[in-house]
Amino acid sequence: MANLVIENVKKRYGQNEILKGINISIETGEFLILVGPSGCGKSTLMNSIAGLEEVSDGRIMIDGQDVTFASPKDRDIAMVFQSYALYPNMTVAENISFGLEMRKVPKEEREKEVTRVAEMLQIGHLLKRKPAQLSGGQRQRVAMGRALARRPKMYLFDEPLSNLDAKLRVEMRTEIKKLHQKLGTTIVYVTHDQIEAMTLADRIAVMKDGEVQQLGTPQEIYDDPANLFVAGFMGSPAMNFIPAKVVQQNGTYALSLETKSNVVLPFPKPGALSSHVGNTVLLGLRPEMITEPQPHKEGATFVVKADIEVEVTEPMGADTMIITRIQDAEVNCRSNPAYSAQPGDVISMMFDTSKAVVFDKDTEERLDK
């Protein structure tokens, strides 16, 4: 069990600075999820934690010990590589048990462990195969198995489920969650799956261009994003950013925008708007906050109805996205599939601003913090 402190870690490849001073500190047993756009440095950071890449600057501490220069095997970390890195000459079973063998676990116990892990990952029937004879998802599961067979201080998972089907992914996610609850091992986990991020993480670090944009609980990240980037990055479909003018009305501050007609939306923290009166800010409103009129919300404090023109509809199974355009910004609204709307229709929608946030148009920083 480890608490992990990453202090001002930098990493350069030749000219390019890939990590620009990362600071992250998590507690023992925490489940940290790293998210960020492709190429932002997540894998590099993972490699640095594991000691597989030498950092150019900064320090990494595990359990209060400086391990910046410790060799990977002394750090007692297990990792799932994004590229799997299976040993091509070994069978699946050997791949999984290799780490145990290295740690001098007796043969019998290894075999038991392999069986257990293989069953959990549903690869029991593949144990005798070589990696080259596996499908993509099977390889990925073997890569997982290799890490899960061990009981290290810390697990690092680099997109461990990306090649699995939804069903299996849910099952695996559950297994990981159980494992974490049972062992309390610190886990750092990279994923692009929002649901994974939201359901697994104790805390999420959102990275961009080699920098941590925000480090917080899933709910914080979702409801209280530090800046436009974080807000836009988390949530699928993404949060809508609608240019809105700050107006003073009835002694408080509100946001005014043009849909089919002019609407004025109340704002939960009007004080934050006070210094921006007359300016245009970006109103951040998640798609699920713009819905078809729902009787039970009628009359709530921050709910306002307005007409919009439907541009496109996108059925997504459980919901249908209605896409419209407000002040030149494309806006996604989430509606019940039963609520049928056709492109070109002008329909009434409910805008719920109880969780709305506002950003500066230029700096992209939150204004209402």
């Binding site: 030749g14 000691g51 597989l52 890449e53 030498e54 220069f69 410790a70 060799s71």
Partner: protein, 309 residues
């Protein structure tokens, strides 16, 4: 990827605490150590020693009476040396080129799921196995103007067939090329075959889909990914070329005249048979200089262009 210990010196001061150096951290260096020591002593030490000798008038055995660059001046005043040097150019160039082309070609051909691959491979490879001390004789016969291939062809009815390269001072160097290619090309083939066997199958599939035919796939995808193999082959071949000594000694002994002399033979003859250690050393240094002039840029580009890890 670098080991932690590598930069620990500079790092220590930076992080303000000494990095622990376990045995494991030293392992890579320990493993290399014997090679490093022997290389420094037995290659570079001797090289420097030879360089020193080249400035002395050492005769039968080394002495240390320095004569400045006199030996080099003598060397470049020596017709035989100039012939040897230009022979090396012709011989080395042709030999390397033909071996590479032939080796690659044979390797690719053999890689087409050929029946009896093992037997054919061994046939291509076997010339390496037989010492030139004797194959030299067989080649001498084959190339001999009176009773070799020429005679055979004439007996087969090609009355006007002439093949007298071995006794023609202008052509004899090509005889060396023929015999040397015969001997070394099989190994180049093996080298490439080993490389081909390691190429990722998916990549080839991708190339096929991209519309590359089999030849293009080899030329553009597979062979370029065998760049390291080319590198090995180049080094090996130039090494063989530079050191072709047995070959000359057994096939032509430098003749006719000294028209087929190569620098290695020149060097050996002068240093050991003519008690001109100083001159021999000078010629060795010039040989080395030529190699370095060609090789260093190549090595540089090869090792620098390596992937970052």
């Amino acid at each position: 990827m670098t080991t932690k210990s590598a930069n620990s010196g500079s790092r220590t001061t930076q992080s303000g605490r000494p990095a622990r150096l376990s045995l494991a951290d030293w392992m890579p260096k320990l493993v290399m150590a014997p090679t490093v020591v022997t290389t420094i002593v037995c290659i570079y030490g001797y090289m420097i020693w030879t360089a020193v000798l080249s400035f002395t008038n050492s005769r039968m055995l080394p002495t240390y009476k320095f004569v400045g660059t006199a030996q080099y001046e003598r060397l470049f005043d020596n017709d035989r040396w100039l012939v040897a040097l230009s022979n090396l150019g012709v011989f080395g160039g042709l030999f390397i080129l033909i071996c590479l082309v032939l080796g690659v070609m044979l390797a690719i051909f053999l890689d087409q799921k050929i029946r009896a691959e093992g037997a054919i491979r061994t046939i291509y490879l076997y010339p390496m196995a037989i010492s030139f001390i004797v194959t030299g004789t067989a080649w001498k016969w084959l190339l001999n103007p009176t009773n070799g291939i020429e005679k055979m062809m004439i007996e087969l009815g090609f009355e006007d067939f002439r093949f007298n390269w071995l006794s023609d001072p202008d052509m004899v160097v090509y005889c060396l090329v023929i015999a040397a290619v015969w001997q070394a090309s099989g190994f180049v083939m093996a080298l490439f075959l080993a490389g081909l066997r390691g190429v990722d199958g998916e990549m080839i599939k991708a190339a096929q889909l991209d519309g590359a035919g089999i030849f293009t796939t080899y030329r553009r995808i597979i062979l370029p990914s065998l760049k390291p193999v080319f590198f090995s082959a180049m080094v090996i071949l130039s090494h063989i070329a530079i050191k072709s000594f047995d070959l000359v000694a057994s096939l032509t002994n430098g003749g006719p005249g000294y028209s087929s002399d190569l620098p290695a033979n020149f060097m050996y003859t002068h240093a050991f048979n003519r008690s001109q250690m100083g001159l021999g050393s000078a010629s060795a240094m010039v040989m080395l200089g030529c190699v370095l002039a060609i090789l260093i840029p190549y090595l540089y580009s090869e090792l620098r262009g390596e992937r970052h890890e």
